[in-house]
């Protein structure tokens, strides 16, 4: 009973907040609704018994991606009138995307009602007496080890690429030399002088 209530609550909130992401006028409000949607999706994962995935969803999406997204949204100078002005111009493209999505939805529903492909036999069977984390870990590090490492390498390449693209040495900047700062002692950093009247100071 309580699972049913929780399921409908989470499911309703996911859909409602996903709709609000699109309908909210203020982009920051959209991000907030998006975070609520992620959070409720994590709730649905919990109900499905995948507590590890649920926590990862919150940590990765809510914690990291959404924070970065918020940074971008808040740092950009967004003119709301200008955003709405492009409505007619982008209408054909938007309509096209909407039609494609709707067609896919109908297609998926049709395929589902025709009976699914027997994928369950190909996936590794779930072991009931082990915790979520152990099951995922054993699969990732034995059966899917090469895919897992490939994913890691792709991420590494992406990271190096991002650094290589954005990191450039600008001339004329002074950077911190932490070791030199730590070596500094008061007697070499300060000087006691006694200038005469009207002579000024040499710095």
């Amino acid at each position: 009973m309580i699972q049913l209530i929780a399921f409908y609550l989470f499911a309703f909130l996911v859909i409602a907040s996903a709709a609000m992401v699109v309908f909210a006028r203020n982009p920051v409000h959209s991000v907030m609704w998006l975070i609520l949607a992620f959070f409720n999706a994590a709730g649905l994962m919990l109900l499905a018994g995948a507590e590890f995935i649920a926590m990862l969803l919150v940590i990765v999406y809510v914690g990291a991606v959404a924070v970065l997204f918020l940074f971008v949204v808040m740092m950009l100078d967004i003119d709301f009138a200008e955003l709405r002005a492009g409505f007619v111009r982008y209408l054909p493209l938007g309509a096209l995307v909407a039609i494609i999505l709707a067609a896919e939805l109908v297609f998926a529903l049709g395929a589902w009602s025709a009976g699914g492909i027997d994928l369950a036999a190909r996936a590794a069977p779930a072991v009931a007496d082990k915790s979520n984390i152990q099951q995922i870990g054993e699969l990732l590090y034995t059966r899917y080890i090469f895919l897992f490492e490939a994913a890691g390498i792709v991420l590494l390449v992406a990271m190096i690429g991002a650094i290589a693209l954005t990191h450039r040495q600008r001339g004329g900047t002074r950077s911190q030399k932490i070791a030199a700062q730590n070596r500094r002692r008061p007697d070499e950093a300060t000087r006691l002088v006694d200038p005469g009247v009207g002579q000024g100071m040499e710095l």
Partner: protein
């Protein structure tokens, strides 16, 4: 507790519901009281180290100071700046406060005395603490004011940076404990050091991690020396500049509840939680909850001590410490710990 309510003649669903609500109240109410007293203790310790008297007017030894402050704040008018984003402005302190309470659900107070005994407890705490940053960001953005916005930017960057190294530090603990469940982590520390001491912190391999975690928890809760979000000489009062009355009080309570949470995590993850420090039979006569509270209060004292004595970091120093010092060290330690365990436990 569910069994107790069932014995009163309730059905299982009702007994479970009532027991959960009771459990939440049993944690939240003492926590609020503890937060009030810990604010008083913080001010007293800080005053004593600065050779001042601290709060000493309201009640004996000024013990009721926090309650007087609370009453004062409660009776003030809530001011909302006219150009603020109203909804987010009001939601932000509520988020901060709620998130600060949420994490306590998985903290074990004694063997089995835990509200939600889930097997991803540590991940849950990481998830909840990553939510905590939204209260700060939202308050800074919705105030529509320069200094709160600067503070929100600093706070979010700071918390994200240190969460990364905290995550790697926790991997070391999880590897040793072989579990994400906080109660299991405490139990794994039983007789950890040669069967004599009950704490990961006494393990020479894990002690550096304990130190790193303590410093990271100072940064995560934005306490001195990392309190750049509230640097009063630069940012007035930080992200809460525009707040007044109860909305300010919620930030205040949430912040100290977070400090207590971090002290508790230090105690639970590295210093044995509700276990006595030595594995010696007479020490087990003292209830576990008292050992836990003693450890929490000790760490809170160290937090206050640091606040009273250490000068504030510069922002670039803070970032350097997080990304160039803590992150590499904690990464290396992940390799060291897993290598050690491969050699000893799993070979």
């Amino acid at each position: 507790m569910t069994a107790f309510f069932q014995s009163l003649g309730m059905s299982y669903e009702w007994a479970w519901g009532v027991a959960t609500v009771c459990g939440i109240l049993l944690i939240a109410l003492p926590l609020m009281l503890a937060v009030a007293m810990i604010i008083y203790a913080d001010r007293k310790i800080w005053a004593a180290m600065a050779l001042r008297r601290g709060p000493n007017v309201v009640g004996p030894f000024g013990l009721l100071q926090s309650f007087a402050d609370g009453l004062k704040v409660f009776l003030q008018e809530t001011i909302i700046p006219s150009s603020a984003n109203r909804g987010l402005f009001l939601i932000a302190p509520i988020i901060t406060f709620t998130v600060a309470l949420m994490a306590w659900a998985v903290i074990p107070f004694n063997s089995g005395a835990v509200l939600a005994d889930i097997n991803v407890g540590l991940l849950y705490i990481l998830a909840v603490s990553s939510l905590g940053v939204y209260g700060v960001i939202l308050s800074g953005w919705s105030s529509n004011s320069k200094y709160p916005f600067f503070s929100a930017m600093r706070a979010s960057a700071q918390m994200i940076s240190y969460e990364v190294s905290i995550g790697f530090i926790l991997i070391g603990v999880v590897l040793f404990a072989d579990s994400f469940n906080l109660n299991e982590i405490v139990k794994a520390q039983l007789g950890h050091g040669l069967g004599l001491v009950n704490a990961f912190g006494f393990n020479l391999l894990l002690f550096p991690l304990a130190v790193l975690f303590f410093i990271s928890s100072l940064a995560e809760t934005a306490r001195t020396p990392f309190d750049l979000t509230e640097a009063e000489s630069e940012l007035v009062a930080g992200y809460q500049t525009e707040y007044s009355s109860m909305s300010f009080a919620l930030f205040w309570l949430g912040e100290y509840a977070n400090v207590l949470l971090m002290c508790t995590l230090n105690a639970v993850l590295f210093w044995g939680g509700w276990l006595p420090p030595l594995d010696w039979a007479p020490l087990y006569a003292v209830p576990g909850i008292i050992w836990l509270f003693a450890k929490i209060l000790f760490f809170f004292f160290v937090f206050s001590w640091v606040k009273a004595t250490v000068p504030r970091y510069r922002y670039d120093q803070l970032m350097r410490l997080g990304w160039k010092v803590f992150l590499p060290i904690s990464l290396i330690w992940v390799f060291l710990v897993s290598g050690y365990l491969m050699l000893t436990r799993y070979s």
